[in-house]
Amino acid sequence: MTACREPASVLIERLSNGETTSLELTEACLAEITSHDGAVGAFLHVAGDSARQAAESIDRRRAAGEPLGRLAGLPVAVKDVLVTRDQPTTCGSRMLEGWTPPYDAHTVEKLRDADAVLIGKTNMDEFAMGSTTENSAFGPTRTPWQLDCVAGGSSGGSAAAVSAGFAPLAVGSDTGGSIRQPASFCGVVGLKPSYGRVSRYGLVAYASSLDQVGPFARDVAGAAMLLEVLAGHDRRDGTSVDQPVPPYGQQLEKPVDGLRIGICPDHFGDGLDPEVREAVERALDIYRGLGADVQEIELPHSRFAVACYYLVAPSEASSNLARYDGIHYGRRTDDHDGLVEMYSNSRGAAFGTEVKRRIMLGTYALSAGYYDAYYLKAQKVRRLIQQDYSQAFADVDVIASPVAPTPAVRLGQLTDDPLQMYLADAYTISANLAGLPGVSIPAGFSQDGRPIGLQLLANAFTEDRLLRAAAMHERETDWHLATPTFAGDAC
């Protein structure tokens, strides 16, 4: 078994007591990438040389007894939606192909400050728009468990990288489930923090009121460790919240006393795969066995969540993506007759179909005559959805549900039907609309070997309790210890 498939906390321990070096770990990860990433497609850029240099430098500093950061020597993969001053940043788009940004995202600075080894940039749906990573302009990412199935999305590359043992930790972003859903499809832990917990500075914007950066790891302790590094106030993001970052990793062993778990009957209705239902019910039984109180709650407006999201997110996207004008950075076509045509032709040539679809939807929803009926109405429903959760969290600590209605789907299964693809986001998008933290943890497998995740949501800025609740399930199960098989053909 490759060293990089060990949990991050184990690797940190081995690094600090001299059992291994950062260079050894980095080489082990790079070797795994060389062997298997041709089939998986997790990386858009592998930073082999700079990663080796960083690793050697950290090993030297460790040998000299210098103080080191919290992730010192640990390889970390970063979703290609976060800008990096020494690695290309494409967002999975032809629009930004070949672009190296002039600065680092706040979260990338934090990783460097923590002495992480930045091993590469991971594949994603173009501009984070999608649920399968099939919208990447550079080819899809497959789940390492079954190579004819997708890794999920939009952070499919980061989820697959951790699952495959290409890196013990990875960073993703989640606008409507883009961390939690690929975590479920790849059998790893993925956490979306509360809105404002992690700075969005240098996160290429999709839907600014929903976007949030978060960790992927092999276990809950790894996610807690990485969240601790990523979180914190940054004055360059006006929505970043100035609250101290709790030591998430320190309390994990402590169960939540009298844990109250809410379940919403609507989440278990038609369209839920029986094997997913079984996995979620088994997880609830585990919690009951630990003394948790599982009770039904009501989220009366949850049936509007998909419609609300697919107006709010595309509207913000249509505004955010106006910046790709063929002038300041990104692609410009020579095929034009004047300025306006230069904009249209450059954008038409460089954006993929799903990005165009969402820009169109958002522009329509914001345009004169339709603004009140679509965008404003969606914002009002968004408040109702948030209020539902406020009321629910008066009675429960966490809300448990499936992450997605099915395990990983086959490549091409949903690409021709955008509405069906959108409807599959039903379990995850409410957390973004309401600004809540959510985590996906491994909770089983389908009979044919595809991972299934359990989603837990909690009240805003209670990530500490959310992680402790997740750790309770992890201690009772060994789903997170399973190793992917790279089964099936990479068709």
């Binding site: 190296t100 940004p101 002039p102 600014s208 009121s209 004055r235 006006g238 929505t239 919240v241 049936r303 509007f304 998909v306 419609a307 697919y310 107006l311 106006a322 004008d325 063929g326 002038i327 300041h328 950075y329 990104g330 034009h336 007759d337 004047g338 300025l339 306006v340 045509e341 230069m342 904009y343 249209s344 954008r347 038409g348 040539a349 954006f351 179909t353 165009k356 679809r357 169109m360 939807l361 329509y364 345009s367 004169a368 005559g369 339709y370 009926a373 679509y374 404003l376 109405k377 969606a378 009002k380 429903v381 968004r382 408040r383 948030q386 955008p418 509405l419 959108y422 973004n432 600004g435």
Partner: protein, 110 residues
Amino acid sequence: MSETHSAEPSHGQLTREDVLKVARLARLGLDESEVEEFTGQLGQVLGYVGILEEADTEGVEPLAGASERTDVLREDEPGESLTRDQALSGAPRHDDRFFLVPPVLDTSAE
């Protein structure tokens, strides 16, 4: 925006002209097959989001973002910023001083 559509939302009834108009507003070049594909697909999505009409939002304030923090201010102090070279480093056309664009006062530019 200066261009307007017909007054009422047209759930599921998107026309080819609607699609062309929105593409123009978004400065988004679409080819013929995309126009056709989007006319159907966007109409379908707009038909679906019509479900929101069933939500009673009488007296409900719109929610723009989860945090609702407003007026986040800081001292107006000069800080680090990109150098000119850095700012120009990704530009498709520049002359080491400025971004270069096609003539703005062009009759074809609406």
